[in-house]
Subunit: 299 residues, 2 copies
């Protein structure tokens, strides 16, 4: 099918490379420069070896819709701007798949007039090494579900996914996002603040204690029934990615904006709605905001 | 008068240098090596200029008491060992002045059989540059009060203090220690964790928010009436020492043990006694402990 991919960060490059094997993919970039580069050089995926795939790229300003499925891979804090650019032409945009972290984007996309909207989460580890080059660090799952409308395009995507880039269609979109949110809420801020690899959150008994307090509070805010499941999720990710640095650690250490608003910021809003006190969440939210602020002051 | 000073860290060196001007000072060191060095070279104080003062030093193993006043300058976590060494000869030890941070040492010293015990706090900034050399960074106050017994030796000390090293005799020892504890509880852990100078705790709006939450909780645990006074204390110290790095920041960055047990550890014990919930205090206690643990793992 015809797939448009909006956003050419690590996830956008990864999806465009893998999906272009069986689909007609167009990648939409923020800058003309990046689109030019990809049109000339293709997208390089680095795994055990390197492989280049040619695919067309266009700057986002040239987006007119017309694809069967559009996958939106930008960060949550860039989403509003993207929606503003596409909302007039949503009739032509076919189905939409949103891959943001957190859950704050749900309130933005529930207003959209598209017939079919999907949301998903990604467990792959990917780092953008340059404007047209992505390193695929760790294979993981991609889970997606219908947020509204028909399953057709999502099933077509899943049925034609490459073997090493499989897409699992789930029935409960809320469950997908909550599980990822809980893992992100604990691992991302703590590794970024402690400046450690994911595995250290379990290996250091004091950090582990903090991680459990933050987890407990997160589950309390989300009014989660099955706490054990989320505990296992966090432990599994820490163990499987023990020597990796989290995306928030990487963002902060490279002076980029983090996704803290989509993660702990969202939880603070939820806590306020429900009148729940959440000191650990507030503390780490302000710490990451403070570190972003220090970075801006320094640079 | 004859003054014994136990502990030759920054505070021990600072006191021995200043007090040896008008008193007969003996400095007691942990190691034979440091005592030898000081006996040979004297103690150097670095301020605008450098000045050496000769004074006798002895390793702690040779301590037999006999001074009119003994000033104990070791860290709180070293105090138990020192008390174990001196408790048999306390009859000969004259009056005692304890200069530890926090308040955890009160339960150790209240059992002592000495006739006169004083406690105090120090606002001077001092860094030990080598075994016999101390840099006096910022002049501040020294406050001391009777913990038990007679005021005589403390007044004698205060009346003969050098002009640039004045000692204020106060009436309420609890007040002295609480005020220092509150300032330490907020500034030390936060600057160490955020890795910033003291002034940044006010200048960064997110860090300031955290500082206020930690202050609020500390005052709640200590059941303090005059919150405004402690707030002003914290703000004053941050402003006056804006470009300084706190002692806990320095301890952590140099792989030394911090005084976190004497400060937040003490507050956690108090909170438990009183059934008060203190998530910020617990969080920063575990963060510092976790950082100490990481330091040990790495080195």
């Amino acid at each position: 099918m015809r797939i448009g991919i909006i956003g050419a960060g690590s996830i956008g490059l990864l999806f465009s490379w893998y999906l272009s094997e069986k689909h007609e993919v167009t990648l939409y970039t923020r800058t003309v420069h990046q689109a030019d580069l990809i049109n000339r050089k293709g997208v390089t995926l680095v795994k055990e070896t390197e492989e280049v795939r040619k695919l067309p790229a266009k700057p986002m300003d040239e987006w007119v819709g017309g694809d069967d499925l559009t996958i939106i891979t930008v960060k949550q804090y860039q989403l509003q701007e993207v929606l503003f650019q596409i909302e007039d032409k949503l009739d032509e945009a076919g189905s939409l798949l949103f891959l943001q972290n957190g859950m704050g984007h749900l309130k933005l996309i529930e207003k959209l007039q598209s017939s079919s909207i999907y949301v998903g989460s990604i467990e792959h580890g990917a780092v953008r090494e340059s404007a047209a080059r992505v390193r695929h660090n760790g294979a993981g799952a991609i889970r997606a579900a219908v947020f509204k409308g028909s399953l057709v395009r999502l099933e077509e995507l899943a049925n034609n996914a490459p073997e090493d880039f499989s897409i699992q269609v789930e029935t409960d979109y809320y469950e997908i996002l909550v599980r990822k949110l809980v893992v992100n809420a604990v691992i991302n801020p703590l590794t970024a603040v402690f400046q450690v690899q994911n595995g250290i959150l379990l290996a250091n008994p004091f950090y582990r204690k903090i991680a459990m307090s933050l987890l407990e509070e997160t589950l309390c805010v989300l009014e989660t029934a099955d706490k054990e499941k989320h505990y296992r999720d966090v432990v599994n990710v820490c163990e499987k990615t023990a020597s990796n640095y989290s995306s928030m650690y990487a963002d902060l250490s490279q002076g980029r904006r983090t996704e803290i608003d989509a993660i702990l910021g969202f939880l603070i809003e939820e806590a306020e709605k429900r009148g729940v006190h959440c000191p650990y969440i507030c503390n780490y939210y302000h710490m990451i905001k403070g570190k972003e602020f220090q970075g801006e002051v320094v640079t």
